[in-house]
């Protein structure tokens, strides 16, 4: 059902009893045109765009738990397109544009909030590196501004300008960036895909792949065998585990844990997103009032969905160095998500060497912002068997050919990206 003033009014007056499930809890059919493995934001967005853009509606999204229970629900909700490299920036800017029209398209308020992201710099060399990035963003049609120290102070006067170990010299601002309500993105895409006929099948874990010769023609699941002409994996965090069942036992991916943090609710104090590179810290404030913040990954292979104290302390130190007024505020919740850390820090949307199997993986800690464009490009690949032009650099064979997309320049060491 469509959400409108009228539906809200009617339901308000009738005890909210008229609402229908946001999406059908579908049971698997024997066969589909396309199966997407993974009911996170990327998988659901892929199904939605397959149906809406490509008219492929005989699609199932299968999820081992409940939709949005992986990294889609375990991130810091930032959306931005402030990338440097030509392999990345067009993709993320396309994602930004999709975010900008998402809620009207889905008829779902995902609270896409363009309150801006500010990357602080602390030296002339960092300023110039950000200028290079800001200029690259402009060349891609994105917005960027280079602020000096006073420009930053006018925006965030409470940062530590007077006593900082790494004095703030300015920042790179992207005003169109911001945050979105992560769960609502999942639910909005699920509802949108469902309305177009996509089956969303929860509590359905892949236990194997059905093969005909070389090709994959379906999946074995805890809810039985399901056949499909094409199978797309969108299971970041678990990519190696699931792909290994299809015979892809070695991939340019390691699984790492990233912790994120929320404070108790507070009256508004941080309007947009601030990142503090010298302190490995970034922060925003949710509409509910919690400060949402994070820092580096823990830095060792992990599937445990939990981290350790050194990173917790490191993040808090960054927070206190940047904003010494937060000392008496309290950390309320922290959680760990498992990241597909790729070997160059950039994602993969590509065919695999196995016919019928397609891969959407390697999102590192940046998958949330990519959700719309990832779905868009993966749907394009699945529908047309060729990469979409804004995601064309995310090839699986780039590690072999050397066409790397290494934003940080740290090489083939995932825990440094």
């Amino acid at each position: 059902m469509r959400y409108s003033f009228l539906s809200l009014l009617t339901n308000g007056l009738t005890g909210q009893k008229g609402w229908k499930p946001a999406w059908r809890d579908a049971a698997p059919k024997p066969a589909y045109d396309v199966i997407i493995v993974g009911g996170g934001g990327h998988g659901l967005a892929t199904a939605y765009y397959l149906a809406r853009v490509h008219g492929i509606r005989n699609v199932a999204v299968i999820e081992k738990g409940t939709i949005g229970s992986g990294n889609a629900g375990r991130n810091t909700t930032i959306i931005r397109s402030n990338y440097l490299l030509p392999g990345n920036e067009p993709f993320y800017e396309w994602s930004m544009k999709l975010w900008e029209g998402l809620e009207q398209e889905l008829n779902y308020n995902a609270m896409v909030s363009q309150r801006g992201i500010l990357n602080l710099y602390h030296s002339d060399a960092q300023r110039d590196a950000y200028a290079r990035r800001g200029n690259a963003m402009r060349l891609n049609g994105a917005d960027s501004e280079l602020l000096d120290r006073e420009g930053v102070r006018a925006m965030y006067p409470f940062l530590d300008f007077d006593n900082a170990r790494f004095p703030i010299q300015g920042g790179l601002m992207q005003r169109r960036a911001g945050t979105a309500r992560h769960d609502a993105v999942v639910w909005g895409y699920a509802r949108g895909a469902d309305r177009l006929g996509v089956d969303i099948i929860q509590n359905c874990e892949v236990t194997g792949f059905i093969r005909e010769g070389e090709a994959i023609t379906g999946v074995e699941t805890t809810r039985g065998a399901i056949r499909a002409k094409k199978v797309g994996l969108a299971v970041a965090g678990s990519t190696s585990r699931v792909a290994a069942q299809a015979g892809l036992t070695r991939l340019p991916i390691e699984s790492h844990v990233l912790q994120a943090f929320v404070s108790e609710g507070l009256k508004p104090m941080v309007d947009g997103v601030i990142t503090f590179g010298a302190g490995h810290f970034y922060i925003s404030q949710s509409d509910k009032g919690g400060l949402v913040f994070g820092g580096d990954i823990d830095g060792y292979n992990s599937y445990a969905q939990r981290g350790n104290l050194p990173v917790v302390e490191d993040v808090a130190e960054g927070g206190m160095a940047l904003m010494p007024r937060i000392g008496r505020l309290r950390l309320l919740r922290m959680w760990g998500g498992i990241m597909d850390m790729s070997m160059d820090g950039s994602p993969i949307i590509d065919h695999t060497p196995i016919p019928g199997l397609y891969l959407n993986a390697g999102w590192c800690y940046g998958g949330f912002k990519a959700t719309p464009a990832s779905g868009w490009c993966f749907a394009h690949l699945l529908a047309k068997d060729e990469p979409h032009k804004v995601g064309a650099a995310f090839r699986l064979d780039r590690f072999r050919t050397g066409h790397l997309i290494d934003e940080k320049g740290v090489g083939a060491q995932p825990n440094l990206h």
Binding site: D25, A125, N135, L139, D160, G327, R333
Partner: protein
């Protein structure tokens, strides 16, 4: 006053004054803010998050959802502080929050009228029309209305510290089970830490009036505490919350050192973060009482029954002039009896059960308490509770009461057992989740394990304490368990009064009602995670302590599944919220990270240096002189002095690695792209090393001091990384090589001396017999000798500036003396100290690459050093560097730039476009990496990367820098702006 005339563990001889919303009140030492407010009949203490409904004190512990206040004021303002655990001190200031204009009259309580429209999921369905209004209108309004307390506006003035400690057995919680566990483990001789969040150990022994070994529970707790204090191997830490279980027996704990004081004492931290490494742990965290969901269950005056009992027994406070109890279990009856005996007037007990033990009704009758079985509270009245509506045996009644004490049973505090991913297990008999798989080394005792009788908790604590000690090798005869009430009370599972009138709250703080749960159910948000996220159930500062289980029980009844099948969310750290200040410790302000100072720091300060942060280092940026109008003038003078005469700069920050052994040459051949095995003794060579992926990792010079002794320099920023890499190569890749390395970065001070008069200066400080002539120490020569009268030194003839140059290394303690000696020796030649700005200008003029070019994204080919790479050997990165993506001739490569209009200032970060081309990513041809004003040339110069750069010398390209508003043409030129033939440095 609701303070009872006698009783409680407060010190009536020590009155304390405090204010709440500006009104002065009095309490006693031993009070919490909540008990003192109740003693002063303050019943309205807060407003709810969403509907701004009036709320009162609900609990007596960390589970408090309602009584959140801003504690203290000014820079020490602590929003969202639970009044129920805030220890009272003289002068305490507290204020209600999330209300306007006042607590009593809160305009946003209008939201309550809109509540029929504001159910779960409301926000997701609206505010979309028109789209532009979201950021401009809807969201700002929502943001202002949301949130709870206000953060302080100023920096936190207090200090925090972090400590690590070790023990054999950590006991978490000093209630009956924890005290006994500590005693058993302590007497056995184990190193024990007993941590308790309260300021008074004892847990429920203090809140209840049950006897242990014939004495009052509180007295028993005090006796045990005294014995534990007497054991040298036991440490009792009060006001200390263990908030997280991490790997390998590491526990995070927060000690509130001075939160019970107006301000911390001198040199006292406010709080202390403990990392406790324990071989074994016993979790004895007790249990949390559950409310029952019914209409109007949020009114001030509705409280947990155990809290009413605690306020009466521990604090000597009657929570109202009259009390009705609404319960599902025997324990609440016992509490009612205790409260009645203590003097709080309990009028009625309403129990959902049709039958209870006759002894209970008999005792109630004896105490004058009316009992109503098969009863339910259906609604409440009053802004502050005045009446409750009851249905019992089919009959409806309304009673007047100020307090409604509610008990839906107890939930074991299993939180820490989940910190490694273990899921609590539903126990149907207990109607509670009990611990599932625990973190390694941790066992659970007492109520936290579902052992709800006092005798059972004491016994289980003793047993697990002894077992933990035995596990680490401390055995002793089992101590006797004290005698106490030994049968857990009967209870029934009951969650929600179906006949409720008015909103029935599940999560009091987030205003989630039973109706919201049903909306979530209707819309398909039925899994625990979806329920939680869609309704915000359990997401408030109380972390759902009083709401999670009831919420999912209501969902289970809607789906028709059992609670076990519905599942539970698992708990993650922190157990209770932890201040960010404590987690940061002293790492803030200037102490955020250590500062590394060069050996000549004080010397540079005396020379008037301006310092700048460069990574971990503080380095001299430039040395201004009186009359110079800006940094550029100073830097240009320094550059000119080096080109014309001589200058010196401390380069000790470079990484310095000593390599010794017969295989060093072979080793270096494998880590550098160019050859080192054939390097002559007394010679230095510039080298480039790659990562195994083929990108340049670092560059620097390495000198051979003797056949088996080399010294390497690395860039400042990569010093640690290169050293680690070399150790990896030696220990992992090629252990057969006989090479030993040591970092000597901190052991040697190194000063670069550059300029045409450098040799003249150097000659004056070397000891007799050290030949620094062009023959004795030719370009790229490296010799050992003594300077300044016997100070051992290494002399390298190197040049980063393009001038005749030396680097002189002496033991670090002689660094400042060396600088002084050079200044003295060079005075006659106009020697000038220069900083890293001038160093940068000199290297850019000479066309050397530096950190701006060594981005980790550049190949040796990109940097114009492809020809250095040996084809006669293997080296790290060689194979991968040959991949097509790294050898593509279209890759932007290193080249120089000068402005077409010499007045234009170049900017690093500008991108290059072919003139006339549209500014788009397709036409992006590279970027400017480094720029400087060249005093030698009289205009700005730049280095950068340009597609086919070296073949485009003389061509004009557009330097496009929209973020700084620049867009003009530059000419491609050789990166060697000065002395391209290198005559100066060989002279």
């Amino acid at each position: 006053m609701s303070r009872l005339p006698v009783g409680g563990l407060i010190d009536r001889a020590r009155p304390l004054a405090f204010t709440f919303d500006g009104t002065l009140y009095r309490g006693h030492e031993g009070d919490t803010l909540a008990s003192a407010l109740l003693a002063n009949d303050v019943r309205l203490v807060g407003r709810s998050f969403k509907y701004h409904r009036p709320r009162g004190i609900f609990s007596a512990g960390v589970e408090e959802p309602n009584a959140l206040v801003e504690l203290r004021s000014g820079a020490r303002r602590e929003p969202n502080s639970r009044a129920t655990v805030a220890e009272l001190y003289d002068g305490l200031e507290a204020a209600s929050q999330n209300r306007w204009p006042s607590l009593d009259h809160d305009l946003l309580s209008i939201n309550g009228l809109l509540s029929p429209f504001l159910g779960a999921g409301f926000y997701y369905k609206t505010f979309m029309w028109p789209a532009a209004l979201w950021e401009k209108f809807y969201e700002p309004v929502i943001r202002r209305a949301a949130g709870l307390g206000r953060a302080a506006d100023e920096a936190d003035p207090d200090h925090y510290e972090k400590l690590t400690t070790f023990c054999d057995v950590l006991i978490i919680g000093a209630g009956p089970a924890g005290l006994m566990a500590a005693l058993a483990a302590g007497r056995a001789g184990a190193r024990v830490i007993l941590a308790d969040e309260d300021f008074l150990p004892g847990g429920r022994l203090n809140a209840e009036a049950l006897e242990v070994d014939g004495m009052a529970g509180a007295a028993f707790a005090a006796r045990l505490r005294a014995e534990l204090d007497s054991l040298p191997n036991v440490r009792v830490m009060t006001r200390t919350t263990v908030f997280g279980v991490y790997d390998a027996g590491t526990y995070g704990a927060l000690e509130r050192v001075a939160d019970h004081l107006p301000t911390p004492g001198p040199f006292q931290p406010r709080q202390r973060l403990w990392r406790i490494v324990a071989t074994r742990a016993v979790l004895a965290a007790g249990a949390t009482e559950r409310p029952i969901v019914f209409g109007g269950n949020d009114r001030p005056g509705v409280m947990l029954a155990g809290a009413v009992r605690a306020y009466a027994n521990r604090f000597g406070v009657a929570t109202g002039t009259s009390t009705v109890v609404f319960a599902t279990n025997d324990d609440a009856w016992r509490g009612a009896f205790e409260a009645q005996r203590a003097g709080a007037r309990v009028t009625t007990i309403v129990d959902v059960r049709r039958e209870v033990a006759p002894a209970l009704t008999r005792e109630a009758g004896a105490l004058g308490i009316r009992t109503l079985l098969d009863g339910r509270i259906t609604g409440t009245k009053g802004k502050l509770l005045t009446h409750v509506d009851v249905i019992a045996n089919g009959r409806r009644e309304r009673f007047a009461t100020e307090t409604l004490a509610v008990s839906g049973g107890w939930s074991p505090s299993v939180h820490l057992t989940c910190h490694h991913g273990g899921k609590p297990v539903w126990n149907e008999a207990l109607a509670a989740f009990v611990p599932g798989t625990c973190p390694p080394g941790l066992e659970v005792a007492g109520a936290a394990a579902g052992t709800f009788s006092l005798g059972g908790a004491l016994r289980e604590g003793r047993t697990l304490g002894a077992k933990a000690a035995a596990d680490v090798g401390h055995t002793s005869p089992m101590i006797e368990a004290p005698k106490a009430q030994d049968t857990p009370g009967a209870a029934t599972a009951f969650w929600h009064v179906a006949e409720s009138v008015g909103p029935a709250f599940v999560d009091l703080q987030n205003d989630v009602t039973a109706k919201d749960v049903s909306i979530a159910h209707r819309e398909g948000f039925r899994s625990v995670e979806h329920l939680k996220r869609y309704t915000t159930l359990g997401m408030a500062t109380d972390q759902g302590r009083t709401s999670n289980v009831t919420g999912l029980a209501i969902m289970a009844s809607l789906t028709g599944q059992g609670i076990a099948e519905t599942g539970t969310t698992i708990f993650r750290p922190p157990y209770t919220p932890v201040s960010l200040g404590a987690l940061a410790g002293h790492h803030r302000g200037k102490d955020f990270r250590p500062v590394r100072l060069t050996p000549t720091h004080e010397w540079a300060r005396a020379q008037g240096a301006v310092f700048i942060e460069t990574g971990a280092w503080l380095r001299a940026q430039y040395f201004p002189r009186p009359g110079e109008k800006d940094w550029l003038e100073s830097v240009s003078r320094e550059v000119t002095a080096v080109r014309a005469a001589v200058g010196l700069i401390d380069v000790s920050t470079f990484g310095k690695i000593d390599l010794q052994g017969p295989d060093v040459g072979a080793f270096l051949d494998r880590v550098y792209i160019n050859g080192f095995a054939q390097l002559g003794v007394g010679k230095a060579r510039y080298g480039v090393m790659l990562r195994e992926d083929g990108m340049v990792m670092d560059d620097g010079t390495t000198a051979r001091l003797s056949p088996e002794h080399y010294v390497m320099t690395t860039t400042t920023v990569n010093a640690a990384k290169v050293y680690q890499h070399l150790e990896f190569c030696l220990q992992v890749l090629w252990p057969e090589l006989d090479v030993t390395i040591a970092s000597v970065s901190d052991q040697w001070a190194q000063i670069a001396l550059a300029g045409p008069r450098a040799r003249d200066v150097l000659a004056r400080i070397v000891d007799a017999g050290v030949d620094v002539s062009n023959e004795g120490l030719p370009f790229m020569g490296a010799i050992e000798g003594a300077v300044m009268g016997g100070v051992p030194a290494r002399l390298f003839r190197l040049s980063f500036s393009g001038e005749l140059g030396y680097e002189i290394a002496v033991p670090a303690r002689h660094g400042a003396a060396l600088a002084d000696a050079l200044m003295t020796a060079g005075a006659a030649f106009g020697i000038t100290p220069y900083g890293i700005e001038a160093l940068g200008v000199l290297r850019i003029e000479k066309g050397h690459v530096s950190g701006n070019e060594l981005t980790g994204q550049t190949t040796a080919g990109d940097l114009g050093m492809g020809r250095m790479a040996s084809t006669k050997k293997d080296y790290i990165g060689r194979v991968m560097a040959a991949r097509p993506g790294l050898t593509d001739p279209d890759r932007p490569s290193f080249i120089g730039f000068r402005p077409v209009d010499p007045a234009q200032r170049l900017r690093a970060g500008a991108h290059f476009l072919t003139p006339g081309a549209v500014a788009s990513v397709e036409n992006d041809e590279g970027y400017m990496s480094s720029v400087a004003y060249s005093p030698h040339l009289g205009h700005w110069i730049g280095l950068g990367f340009l597609k086919n750069g070296p073949s485009r010398i003389g061509e004009r390209v557009r330097a496009y820098d929209p973020v700084r508003g620049n867009d003009f043409e530059v000419e491609v030129c050789s990166p060697g702006f000065i002395d391209p033939e290198g005559e100066r440095l060989r002279g």
